[in-house]
Amino acid sequence: MYKLGIDVGGTNTDAVLINENKEVVADIKHPTTPDVYDGINEAIRTVCDTAKIDRADITQAMLGTTQGTNAIVERRNLAKVGLVRIGAPATLAIPPAVDWPEDIQGVVEDYVIIRGGYEYDGKEIAELDTDAAKDFFTRVKGKVNSIAISCVFSTVRDDEELAIAKLCREVMGDDIPISISSEIGSMGLIERENATILNAALCHVAKRFTEGFVRSLANEGITNARVYISQNDGTLMTMEYAQKYPIRTVACGPTNSIRGASYLTKLQNAIVVDVGGTTTDLGVIEKGFPRESGVAVTIGGVRTNFRMPDIISIGLGGGSIVREHDDGSVTVGPDSVGYQITSKALVFGGDTMTATDIAVRLGMADIGDASKVAFIDEDLANKALATIKTMVEESIDAMKVSSDDVEVILVGGGNIILPKKLIGASTVYVPEHAGCANAIGAAIAKVSGYYEKFIDYNETPRDQALAHAKEEATQQAIEAGAIADTVEIIDVEDVPLAYYPGNTCRVRVKAAGNLA
């Protein structure tokens, strides 16, 4: 019984195998290829060969991939979306996608804003205009590939979004993908609608990466495995879920690193520093899961309020170029030799001084040919190391919530460039298999359920409301594939709303459990 975890990144495709005792049996890195499936196939083959296991014993296969993000950023393979917004006469002043970059605005092929929607307390703004929706679906049938539905305060009540989705099925048939805003984003109509449109636009890409992964597995003789896709909160989706909610794969890479780091060190609270070839991502692990970003997140120039891990990226990695300036100062990065490190770095016989060369010169790492960096002045090397140290220390500090020291976990292939003592860190951990923390994060992930609503505590007492919220989140996790008695509540938040009547709070609960 093995779990196979794959993480497709910009530079490398990582693969790991984990046995039933949750131990890492093998981990490998393979360069990401133009057709990502070549790299995935190779990675699967290599990791299975390394571990020398029977492929029929692999029962779960997890994929973390950047294909969804890349499709949005590069505006490739995006589907034509028809949008129905429910809420007129409110919201008419703001047309959909009004502030999107011009080269992606065209994703919204056609839209309509129909009467309906809710007030903050669930009262109807206007009677739902189903005729207008029906006309729209008839008009766009055959012209769009995917439908997005948004509704004012659908996070309070989703009835009208569901009714319009049903109507869409009746008019446009069973095959048209439908994305519903209450299932995608949180409060803030426009940002939620934006995330819903992007989700709808990813329907082709999602079909391709889920089916492609299954095909890759089959090609390598892995046919007994249940297949899962990583989402960006550190939990997994089934194939069917991933095809419905592809937007949830955005930024799953850093999340998987954070989760993997936590798993390898058994730490539940820490700052994770993931050093790659060109950049270093810092994230925070809280109770075993990544801390979510509190601000609006922009994906490919489109503002969304979709949950995302709180990550900062700095231009520092194993391939970062080291320069000495006339005034004696030494800088590191932000430019990097990137994937060409094995030919350009000094230790590999190249001509460019990189952060990795500094680490080798100072005896922190044993990579390539150390004699090729012996000529580097020790003073210069120490200055470069001090620069690297300060860059990371300042970023760690920016991620902290107080001045107290925190535990820090270093992962990623480039972690050798960092000293093992850092200001602000109580202890610095570099776990075994740190280089493939992201694929490990994918392999060990749980499945989750989520609940968010406005609740007036004067109408529903707090304990009753929270109990109901926990039940709903748990139920969702079970529906997503979790074993019922392993489901735990991992996050509860209730925030009072400013300027609201009564005692209204935004209640959010997240649950997660182990896979069957």
Binding site: G87, A88, A93, D99, E119, Y120, V295, Y499
Partner: protein, 364 residues
């Protein structure tokens, strides 16, 4: 007169977040309304206060209610017609132009949407020159102008016009109606004639906002100087401190977001400490226990790299910020002005001294 289109709206919105001095709310949703209106109806005319005849009717446009609701419901677009009709009927004359009531935050954007949809010009003038938390905190109050008759309209087509005995009553009654209308409405307070607007308004504030927005956006492109110097020069801001937020102490006092931000100096300020106190907006900044600026001067926290303003609801440990002081509108520095918005009104027991005098000798 000049045209305001999409590009100008972007800069004005960015500048408005600086003029919010930590408060005023995120202009984002307002920006979308302004963009939506301009895309549909074309760019608006921004006119100089002097272009408005003395006896012409000028009306500020603003929103009232919960920002969270605004972020869901936006606006319908027909509210401005209702506000126009009610106000115009009341005075039995046409409205000559709209104007902003405050330059900071979301309210900087709504008059642009209103002007575009009604085909009216917008005056380059407001009643605060920044953001303030209470309805009477406008320079027009000094001129004896009342908030009412004030028209209020929701997106469903409901509208009300208020006549109240005090501004406090205007606030109380309109808030009650706002809640019944779904938590957010458009209002047209302080209708006034051109002469009053010219005498008491903060002139050129929209242009100022646009200049500030451009200063933030283009600071990085400067060829002559480093970005920080370029930003300070273009914004005419005074650099008061640069530091890392070491702690944020928050309290809830009534409906206000109240607290203190503690800063540890970085770069040239290493070893020094500063403290910023806020109540929705930033009220006072002390460096090494010495007061360097107080309300009504603007105290703005901006990101040290991007110069994007950091509002009081998102200050958090570890963020690196520069504290920048901007002088307030002259009329706030008079006895009547300070009674409305001076440090003592906000519970700070100190005399008002203009920021440019306080920082003399203390600022690099």
């Amino acid at each position: 007169m000049r045209k305001i289109g999409i590009k100008e709206i972007e800069d004005i919105a960015l500048g408005a977040s600086l003029l919010g001095a930590g408060g005023g709310g995120d202009p984002y949703i307002g920006k979308l309304m302004a963009m939506g209106a301009v895309k549909e109806c074309g760019p608006i005319d921004l006119i100089e206060p002097e272009e408005v005849p003395d006896d012409a009717l000028v009306v500020p446009i603003a929103m009232m209610g919960a920002p969270t609701v605004l972020n869901e419901k936006g606006a319908g677009g027909s509210e401005y017609r209702a506000l126009y009709d009610m106000t115009s009927d009341f005075f039995d004359k046409p409205i000559y132009a709209f104007m902003p009531m405050e330059a900071g935050g979301v309210n900087s954007m709504l008059p642009i949407a209103a002007a575009a949809r009604m085909g009216l010009p917008m005056v380059d003038c407001d009643g605060m020159g920044r953001a303030f938390p209470e309805i009477q905190m406008v320079t027009f109050t000094i001129g004896g102008v009342q908030a009412t008759p004030m028209a209020l309209a929701d997106e469903k087509g409901n509208s009300v016009i208020f006549r109240t005995i005090t501004n406090k009553w205007a606030e109380d009654l309109s808030r009650a109606v706002t809640m019944r209308c779904g938590g957010n409405v458009a209002i047209a307070p302080y209708p006034m004639d051109g002469a009053v607007m010219k005498k008491y308004g903060v002139k050129g504030i929209v242009t100022r906002s646009e200049t500030l927005g451009r200063a933030i956006r283009t600071a990085k492109d400067s060829k002559d100087t480093d970005p920080e110097t370029a930003f300070l020069k273009a914004s005419k801001g005074m650099k008061i401190f640069k530091g890392k937020i070491s702690d944020v102490l928050r309290e809830t006092r009534g409906a206000f977001n109240y607290g203190h931000v503690l800063l540890d100096g970085i770069s040239d300020y290493r070893g020094q400490k500063a403290e910023v106190t806020f109540q929705n907006e930033n009220l006072i900044v002390k460096v090494n226990d010495k007061i360097l600026a107080t309300a009504p001067d603007l105290i703005c926290l901006v990101d040290t790299e991007t110069f994007i303003p950091v509002p009081t609801d998102s200050v958090k440990y570890g963020k690196r910020v520069m504290v920048v002081g901007l002088p307030c509108f002259d009329m706030w520095r008079t006895e009547e002005g300070l009674k409305l918005v001076g440090p003592r009104y906000f519970g700070i027991d100190t005399d008002y001294i203009p920021v440019e005098e306080r920082v003399k000798g203390s600022v690099q």
